[in-house]
């Protein structure tokens, strides 16, 4: 395998591994094409660490000749034979930081450079998902949870006014859209092609959600290319007109400030002007994107990683990172969209400039607020698949590097992490409304950056097709759903509600997601105990009710009422 040329030293003995809040461990370190393997055989119970190299964000190395520096007498004693040693600090994309003390300067440098080279390989087909072959999974298993075709067929309320268009089946109309999309019935494929030419990256307006209560819709697209000359596109205007009845009103939620939208015209972009899109009202809600968001994440992680500072510096750093402000604006914009749909009964079109980041953030959060189906375990994964994976969020670019990287930023942006954070905030405020738990959000935050599965590979469906991702990798979502450990992703308190769940967006109500950002601190331990205790209580309850626990649909406590009632009926008959 070609990886071997990057591996200068494959094995080192007598390495000391230091993980946060754990005693140091001594063992063997091994570098393979995709993994860093550390095994500690000294103790009775064998302990291993298997780290995906892709998960490594930054490597910091320092070597020293210990004989020359007598200030480390203790370390020196054991190392005296080699005379030199090195330390590698590995900072992971899941925010964990590990330290490896490696005897021998040369070995240390070799290991460090191998890790650096292998963790930043850019060829997608060389990445681990293409090699991950667990025994219990087969490549013939279904890949993905659903498709636009299935969504359309299953949603009866769409049939009347909407149709499925396969105009993009060869990805020629819009390279970042999937092959099929749901569009107004009255608009033909030729018009779609023309409308696509008028939208940045060809992302013409498509349906993403139809509200079950009033059939109002949420659509998304990219900015119109009006440019400085106020160009128009008849087809684009008709497409939007076809969405709503003449008497109705629709809202365009632009995730840029009015000023930014205005400036976009200088570079060929723009916004829907009222005179040409009569029934549509435009509202601007500024949301940060791209580099600003990435830097925000970097600052936040840095603040969380420094436990030495005092209270003042902590709060200023937290404030200065602006991360919670981004959470605030994402949730409040999504709330606004949901409010337009549910309370005011209007359809909404969401876009920013590219329509691949803030747009998806807003549309998916609005759906969680409105749609009970997207709050189930399966439903949420389907939402992510539809609104992020298929809708063309460029995961490959956005998640190439995370908060620790020293590399120059390119297209990195934690839009997806921001979504997960917002989901966490919603869960905090509605702890019974989501079927899945915080653990799922954490798992997803990790998988988006480094994964055994192919789900988050590539930037869009076209790339996935070209590289044969679906044929040659396993699907994360399918795996999570069939996972024998499903229980750890389930919210024991889940209690479905048909109602919209409106999160509070006041600063007092939004909190730092300690589960993610302080995940590798002592803080996490007692929280895990509390979670276990909740499970214990729920399980005790289930045992009493005699409800049979099936692997696929563990009974909610609502179900157990009926069980109780049945039992009581039986007993009364007796």
């Amino acid at each position: 395998m070609e990886f071997s040329e990057h591996i200068k030293t494959a094995n080192v003995e007598d390495v000391v591994l230091k993980l946060p809040f754990q005693p140091p461990m001594r063992g063997t370190l091994c570098v393979t094409g995709h993994h860093l393997l550390f095994s500690d055989r000294a103790e009775e119970r064998e302990w291993q660490l298997l780290l995906l190299l892709r998960n490594i964000d930054a490597v910091e190395k320092s070597v020293e000749n210990l004989l020359g520096y007598p200030q480390h007498p203790k370390a020196g004693q054991s190392q005296r034979t080699t005379g030199s040693s090195g330390t590698i600090i590995i900072k992971c994309k899941d925010l964990r930081i590990l330290q490896l003390d490696i005897p021998g300067m040369e070995e240390c440098l070799n290991i460090a450079s191998s890790i650096e080279a292998l963790s930043s390989l850019e060829s997608i087909t060389e990445m681990y998902p293409f090699f991950h072959r667990p025994r219990e999974l087969s490549l013939n298993d279904p890949w993905g949870l659903s498709s636009p075709e299935q969504d359309y067929v299953q949603t009866e309320r769409l049939w009347d006014r909407w149709r499925l268009s396969k105009v993009n089946s060869d990805f020629s109309v819009c390279p970042s859209y999937p092959g099929a999309m749901i569009v107004p019935r009255t608009v033909d494929d030729d018009a779609l092609v023309k409308a696509a030419r008028f939208r940045q990256g060809g992302r013409f307006p498509v349906l993403c959600y139809c509200h079950h209560r009033n059939s109002m819709v949420i659509m998304r697209c990219s900015q119109p290319m009006t440019g400085a000359n106020r160009k128009r596109c008849r087809e684009d205007e008709l497409l939007l007109q076809a969405v709503i009845d003449e008497s109705e009103l629709g809202y365009v939620i632009d995730t840029r400030s009015a000023q930014q939208a205005q400036q976009a015209r200088m570079t060929g972009g723009g916004f829907e002007s009222k005179s040409f899109y009569r029934p549509w009202r435009r509202i601007h809600r500024h949301m940060e994107r791209g580099k600003v968001l990435q830097e925000s994440l970097i600052k936040l992680v840095e603040a969380c990683g420094d436990p030495s500072h005092n209270m003042d510096r902590w709060l200023s750093k937290l404030e200065n990172s602006k991360w919670l402000s981004h959470v605030h604006s994402a949730l409040s914009t999504a709330g606004l969209v949901a409010e337009c749909v549910e309370r005011d009964g209007h359809s909404v079109l969401v876009h920013g400039s590219d329509g691949t980041d803030t747009t998806l953030l807003v549309t998916s959060l609005a759906q969680v607020i409105l749609d009970p189906a997207s709050r189930t375990f399966r439903g949420f994964l389907q939402l992510l698949e539809r609104e992020w994976v298929q809708a063309g969020h460029p995961f490959q670019q956005r998640c190439a590097r995370s908060a620790h990287s020293h590399a120059r930023l390119r297209q990195e942006c934690p839009s997806f992490v921001l979504l997960l954070d917002c989901m966490w905030q919603i869960w905090r405020q509605f702890p019974l409304a989501l079927e899945f738990s915080e653990a799922l959000l954490l798992r997803l935050a990790q998988e988006a950056y480094a994964s055994d599965y192919g789900t988050f590979l590539c930037n869009n469906e076209q790339e996935r097709c070209t590289l044969g991702v679906k044929e040659n990798t396993h699907c994360l979502f399918q795996f999570l759903l069939r996972c024998s450990e499903r229980e750890k992703y389930i919210n024991p308190l889940y209690e479905p509600t048909e109602l919209a769940i409106w999160p509070s967006v006041q600063p007092q109500s939004l909190q730092l997601w300690t589960g993610l950002f302080l995940r590798w601190t002592e803080h996490a331990e007692t929280m895990a105990e509390a979670r276990e205790e909740i499970w214990t209580i729920i399980k005790e309850h289930r045992e009493r009710t005699g409800a049979e626990e099936t692997t696929h649909t563990p009974p909610t406590h609502r179900d157990t009422f009926t069980a109780v009632e049945n039992l009581m009926d039986e007993l009364t008959i007796l």
Binding site: L249, I283, L499
Partner: protein
Amino acid sequence: MEHIRLPKVERVQLLDRGSSRRAQVGTLYLTASHTIFVDNETEVCSEIWVLHSLVCNVEKQSVTAFGYPLLIQCKNFQVIQLIIPQENDCNDVLMSLLRLSRAKRYEELYCFSFKPNIDKAERDQAWDFIDLRAEYSRMGVPNKLWHVSPINREYRVCDTYPTDLFVPKSATLPVIVGSSKFRSRGRFPTLSYYCKETQAAICRSSQPLSGFSARCLEDEQMLEAIMKSNPGSRFMYVVDTRPKLNAMANRATGKGYESEDNYTNIKFQFIGIENIHVMRNSQQKLIEVSDLRSPSMGEFLLGLENSDWLKHIQTILTAGKFISKAVAEEGVSVLVHCSDGWDRTAQVCSVACILLDPYYRTLKGFMGTYLCDRMAFPYRYSHLDEDPKEVSPVIDQFLECVWQLMEQFPCAFEYNERFLISIHNHIHSCQYGNFVCNSEKERKDLGIREKTHSLWPHMWKNKSDFVNPLFRPDHSQTQGVLRPLTTPYCFKFWRGLYNHFDRGLHPRQSVLDCLMAVKEETQQLEELLAVCEIIRLLRSKQCHPEWSDVNCSANSPQDYTGGILSTGPKDWPVQQRETESTELSLFGDATKSSDPDNSDQESGVADFSCHSSSGGDSFPSEDSVKDADSDEAAFNTA
């Protein structure tokens, strides 16, 4: 009551603080103990009762088109905004409330007129609910090293101390008397907590009158006696909870701190907890931050930082951690003092006790710390209309420390957040006699035991509301010493207390309620399965737990537009009557207010563009677009 100038005002508006547009119209009543607002417009008659003793500030604000606004701020952080149509009425209400809310004598406090339906025997029994002696004997004293000294009978040595005081057996009467003369206000070192396992003790006192060089042999002997009562250790800590600078400044007035040169075998330590004046200002700033209407994230966080409040909490917890570590791990006794030994000292000792002893993390135990630490060695409460400079948030800080610990150790406490908030409310409301007066002597003189009622049996009776469903006596967190983290990110803003009455800010579904209901049901089921004969009976009892309704409260859109479009339901019961269920109904009552309010619908969307709290220049102000077709004129903010 002669203080009520106007018993009733009609057509008063009660403003919803979440939204300036929404108001209820109703009748305002002033009674001897309460201000009552009755909403007579909505079908569901809603009432708000506010105890006069909870009111800390009444302000008349500048006149509006609707009438004369009156702002009532309460000690439990409730804020009520009324608009009274007539100026005369407004003045009368203002004057009455100002007088009613500021008791001039203890006898005017509500606890003296609060008469629940309890007979005398029951009342006496209630006061014996927690027994100080039993509490000490649980700790393991008296024993061969510690005993009760009769020295303070009739409060001869120190009138702010109780009569029963534990001191080392080896300390003779002359030593104690000598020591008390060398201590500010005569508050000589006495036992606060005794650790059976290590034989180490926490003692407390006031500062010594050392000035720049004064010494007192008896005081030195007193400390020596304390140290020697812990046979295993060769030194003891003396912890001065003040910042060093403050302590040094006190030397100029003949007070000060112990010198390691004069006292043998002490290790002296400053902790640096600020005085009550700094704390009061800090809390004031915190309250202002929590009162901000739709602040941006930045405003909120910077305001929180500028208040320094969490920093103070951190310092107090760090001090408690230091003491608990000394006692439990090093087995070294500690003497704690500040200036007079009743603010910071009591606070820090109580925190240390909670960390040290799992018993104080139970309901009964918490009431015990209260009795030992607060009642016998009181804080300076300010229930009377006295110098506002003496008002101190010490007790709030103590409760907050416990809350911060609960957040860190969710399974370690038998009681829940509601319990703390309820106690906070009772401390300030004076409905029960427990928190009135500043010393045992004052309490005896006033006849608190005879004339008022005790809170604890009442809380105990309702304990099912106050238990933490995650608590398990056999849990690892529950046992042993708590070792909290004191890194800054572990300290959070206590929304539950400071924004208690801003319902929209709290989680819409409560894990607490859900788990409590589930647990209760599990228990019910157990009984059900065991005794088949009583099925019918149980069936009639079988009710759906409360939490099944909690979901309903989901359906109320939040304020995404910054205060313009608020949709808080109108009839949120801000405070219930003073009946048995005063215990703040906030969480449980969610069902009442579940109906979404649609009155905004017709005007709805125009508001989206008005204003947003998302911060900075990012508002959706279409008007800033200098666009030729300036299309969205309709959306411009008025």
